[in-house]
Amino acid sequence: MGGLTSTSKGLYNKGKIGMTFKLPPGLALQKVDERIMTLNVGPQHPGSGHMRLIVQIDGDYIVACDPDPGYVHRGEEKMAEYRNYILNIPHLERPVIHDSCNVLYPYVLGSEEILGIEVPERAKYVRVIASELNRCIYIMYWLAIYGIFLGHSTMFMWPAGDRELLIDLMEKMTGARVTHAHFVPGGVRNDLPPNFEDVCLRQVNYFEKRIKEYAAIFYDNPILIARTRDTGILSRQDAIRYGTTGSVLRASGVDYDLRVKEPYDVYEELDVHTNVMKEGDSYARSKIPWLDMLESCNIIRQALQKMPKSGSVRTKLKPNPKGKGLDSVYKRVESGRGSLGCYIVSDGKVEPYRVKLSVPSFRNLIALPNLLRGEKLGNMPSVYWSLNYWPVEADR
């Protein structure tokens, strides 16, 4: 907070403020400190989520914004140090429960390498299907909240309703609605239920047809375009410099998807297309996840076709598996929000020595103060939530 005040004052003293925020015509910049009002947005606010934004406004324009995350810091990395590799699974998926397969993926890949386990071929395909279904579930929830942030209630109801169909599919597959705990070191917990392939194919085809209708109500809607076009523009250079990932990076024109650049499991055998837009504004950032969902449907269809029809899905572990000695591994995957990394250090005991999650939400949050400077206060929700940010994950 102190840092923020000094920065904004410094900006004013240097007279550079005219470059970064637009004043209505006829208003002079005098007695700057009296004109500035500080607003607390959150944690109790319909437009904030589990975090607080300290926003300084001049009239209707945002002068500075200081995000204050950390309201859901639960010490998951510390807790991982006194649980063994299997017991770590449930609490490491809690940061993003509606994307639980993807958030667990790097941990499982890393611990497999540390424990030295081979994964059966069929399990890899099951993982890809579960991961892509979960990505769709995550993006649908994100889209629902984005709609309600912009005051578009239909866009809350449609994705929230259609999301339940995929949740049913995941429930058939794993037994739980949102917290699946389905990926384990050595494969997946259960084989697919009988007749799952047909049901999944039918459901995914219907889902794809359904989300194409969203274009008419949401993405081609003139009100949405007016509110999101040219707001919060993140240039290609800035997107790379701030270290943003995922849909935010791809909306700024960087062709970067870990499923293509660093394929894990069986992604190199699948044909994955990366969606890129060049604008870098809120509209592009809100459209990229929707295009990703269409791509996910393609991947699921390919995986269902190429999957071995029978075989084991899990390599059995010995009780209390141990690492081979001093060892460390860093694995990352493309989650619903961007590249999600997990760094595991083992010292040969049953518990990992250190588990560090490198989460995409926190990386995308770094860009927020720069995107909001000079915007109108009314554009704050559309810019903030277009960053594909989930506060619980950022706080870990």
């Binding site: 944690p43 109790q44 319909p46 859901v72 639960r74 510390k78 809690r94 909240i145 949102v178």
Partner: protein
């Protein structure tokens, strides 16, 4: 006759007695009516504390639609709300804010503790930054177990709360 009884000195006492008599006479039927009104217009505060908010959001989705039971979607101002659904883990940073939100709400107010974390700390019982349950900071009316609870469970919890309000004594209505 009434004029002789009431003097400026004992007017307050007299009005108080009158209130008591009124409450005894019509307290029960009027209280029932007031409680009936409270039951079908519970306004939750929009305070998301942890990951259970995903299932809280799903409870207002078209499939579950908690609004048909009289729980309105959480978009109102804090000063109009009368229900706090504590959606999961309360950390040491969030706890003062939760208490502040609770204190700012007008009476009557009800609390639902949603999820294992809000009840006992749940999965994070041994974490250094998590409170072992919220009943240390605010009084809880209904506990909804689960990690996270399904939307059906949350709806059942809301209906239990409505049952509880129906049997409560409506105070401070005159």
């Amino acid at each position: 006759m009434l004029k002789d009884l009431v003097t400026p000195e004992n007017a307050n006492v007299f009005v108080g007695k009158l209130g008591d008599i009124l409450e005894k006479a019509i307290g029960k039927p009027l209280g029932y009516a007031i409680n009936w009104g409270r039951i079908w217009s519970l306004w939750p505060v929009h305070i998301e504390t942890a990951c259970c908010s995903v299932e809280f959001g799903a409870a207002s989705s078209p499939r579950y639609d908690v609004e048909r039971f009289g729980i309105i979607e959480a978009f109102g101002s804090l000063r109009q709300c009368d229900l706090v659904v504590v959606q999961g883990t309360i950390t040491r940073k969030m706890a003062p804010r939760l208490r502040l939100v609770y204190d700012q709400m007008p009476e009557p107010k009800y609390v639902i503790a949603m999820g294992a974390c809000a009840i006992t700390g749940g999965l994070y019982f041994d974490s250094y930054n998590v409170l072992p349950g919220i009943d240390g900071i605010i009084p809880v009316d209904v506990y909804v177990p689960g990690c996270p609870p399904r939307p059906e469970t949350l709806i059942q919890g809301c209906m239990l709360l409505q049952e509880k309000i129906k049997r409560m004594k409506a105070r401070k209505f005159v």
